[in-house]
Symmetry: C2
Subunit: 435 residues, 2 copies
Amino acid sequence: MVAVPSLFSLRHLLVLSLALNVSLILRTLYHETGEGNKWWFCFKKKMMADAESCFTTSPTASLHNSTRENIIDLDHGDPTMYERFWRQMGDKTTITIPGWQSMSYLSEGSNICWFLEAEFATEVVRLHNVVGNAVTEGRHIVVGTGSSQLILAALYALSSPDAAEPISVVSAAPYYSSYPSMTDYQKSGLYQWAGDAENFDKEGPYIELVTSPNNPDGYRRKSMVNRRQGLLIHDLAYYWPQYTPISSPSDHDLTLFTASKSTGHAGMRIGWALVKDKEVAKKMTKFIELNTIGVSKDSQLRAAKVLKAVSESCKEEKQENGGESFFKFSYKVMAQRWKQLREVVDGGDMFSLPQFSPAFCSFFGKETEPQPAFVWLKCEGDVEDCETFLRGYKIITRSGTQFGASPKYVRISMLDTDETFIQFIERLSAIQERE
Amino acid sequence: MVAVPSLFSLRHLLVLSLALNVSLILRTLYHETGEGNKWWFCFKKKMMADAESCFTTSPTASLHNSTRENIIDLDHGDPTMYERFWRQMGDKTTITIPGWQSMSYLSEGSNICWFLEAEFATEVVRLHNVVGNAVTEGRHIVVGTGSSQLILAALYALSSPDAAEPISVVSAAPYYSSYPSMTDYQKSGLYQWAGDAENFDKEGPYIELVTSPNNPDGYRRKSMVNRRQGLLIHDLAYYWPQYTPISSPSDHDLTLFTASKSTGHAGMRIGWALVKDKEVAKKMTKFIELNTIGVSKDSQLRAAKVLKAVSESCKEEKQENGGESFFKFSYKVMAQRWKQLREVVDGGDMFSLPQFSPAFCSFFGKETEPQPAFVWLKCEGDVEDCETFLRGYKIITRSGTQFGASPKYVRISMLDTDETFIQFIERLSAIQERE
């Protein structure tokens, strides 16, 4: 028993010394180049833009390079904030898949969506019932490789191959920045991006994407084009209690949800559609068949386990000594982040934030305030290009122009890790003090 | 210790008796309706065709309904044959994923394909080196949700958004039945299906899909349009030692592989592309980003484990007391199936099969014969519509017309379970005797 601590200490000493060396080497490199995080930043940038743009530096940026601060990339809504909760859950959501399982293309069951895993479908229905955010009765579930694939499947299903011209696809600005490119990248003869729904005045049928709460600005949304012949796709990725008060179960023709924003499992690439019309569900299924011949079964099974854990955490919370539910945890983190953010922004006059009204949330049984997954930040005063301005302080955001809005706005993710969020708040506070 | 065997026997008796009851009930139902497998068949049919067609019965079919044989569906290449091998492997390929893992959209590493899991990329390279079926040096790996998504990504990457008209997409008949619909379902202005490569004589650039060994007929293929300005996509889904002699490592600009046909894991939806040109790899990555924002990480991790096991099984086989490698197992199953099939077909003059020449296989270090994943069966004599003819005997196949060929041909999967394959051989033998 004596030898163990001695060996332990020796090994520890070695590890510590090695860590110190690595740290010193990295620090030297970082201070020499001022580019310590540039590679990671560029790698992340590749996600939505061309890699080339990583290597261009804005004039403002060069002014501040001397500060040697690291880059805070909040361009994407990568939901790494949730990792902490799932680590706390330990083995509860660990999934084990034997090598011989789920080999077939097909899934058991009699669903229109022939690749839908029954277990996943069950947990989708259960979770919506627990949360009360969507009517599932009389709906066909179509599973997709994330909700992106389901948006495309819905465009395909709602358009007609025999139409004289592509059907117009609109969404009210500021709209999700990927809608235009997702709609047009294939140069499809079936559908075509037609811009801001509020300015849309073309006669005939159209598809309107209604995102509620909205990405980027977090406001609740309804259809903007008040006309007949409109086909609606409701993208409710953020209609969960941590982001917005749940007023009533959504009850639309075609509604989309995704694991990425509900539980934070973006890497699973799992989304689901609740579809009223059988023919639309069939056509969406056909799209996914031609696109990817189904959806990963491994991820469907994992998603089933995760959704089940979320539902159970809500049930257990109500019991004596029950832990905190997933939504309570997430709500608290979001509430704290928004509080900190509002404090910093209100401490100066450089920036402004959207203002939301509290409303009764049927899930929490009390009044709650919207606390969106993104900040739709406005640069006040002389700053005309907020994205470039913040980039000068090494805060990477997405410009309002990408959302069909003014460059005075930027979208900033609120779902990154605690560490990154704290750095962001500190950096924002420092900007207010300096400028 | 005495109580255990007694309890054991009682339980066994109960299970046996229950099984007997269920079996008898099912048998009664089946004999009453003659439709025992119809639901399953219709469900499977939904995969590639409209469900409605399930409920139409061909005139020939009604002639034989009295035989009360079950339906043998070999329309799709569902690779359930491989399940036996993976069961034998036990826990070796079992994967465990904790709830907090792989939450981000992004993968670590510096790949052009920003959602590519490093572990998966490593195992792809390793397996190709072990098998010797593809050059991986100087190639970028792009992972896809099955190789279907990669075909679409390649069409997108090889076409130009500024071209005056869509680029022609061709493949030599008989070609994979999904190529035309995959190319045209979006009515893309970028690319357009232009049919059989052998009849293609339009000037200007074109994309040729080269499938080798070919689906449906199993022959080795080279580009058929012998012209410049041709952009080639090599679909080598079946270039594995169980199906065809490995002559040399494939060395093309853009090559596609898939787990579905190499290891039999169709439900994972994992394919990969080996891409020489950096810009093409970038554009393919962009396509997948806009289509599905990446590829399931869970399935990539599982695929990595499965490919690793395949590589290791090849290494272990060479050691003393080493088990049978994955390819040896699969080769033997395929050899036996083709032998049985040839015996039945040669026993009459109703059908004929493609004839293949043996060649040296560098992987097995000996001469082997092609034994494709599909049979390209021809009905000889008066039978003009082979698909309808076999459907009359409740054998579901895919008609030659779907492959741009004569209705005298059908494609039949050779990758189904042992049970289904034996039934198929018996049914085929019975047809030869009856007709």
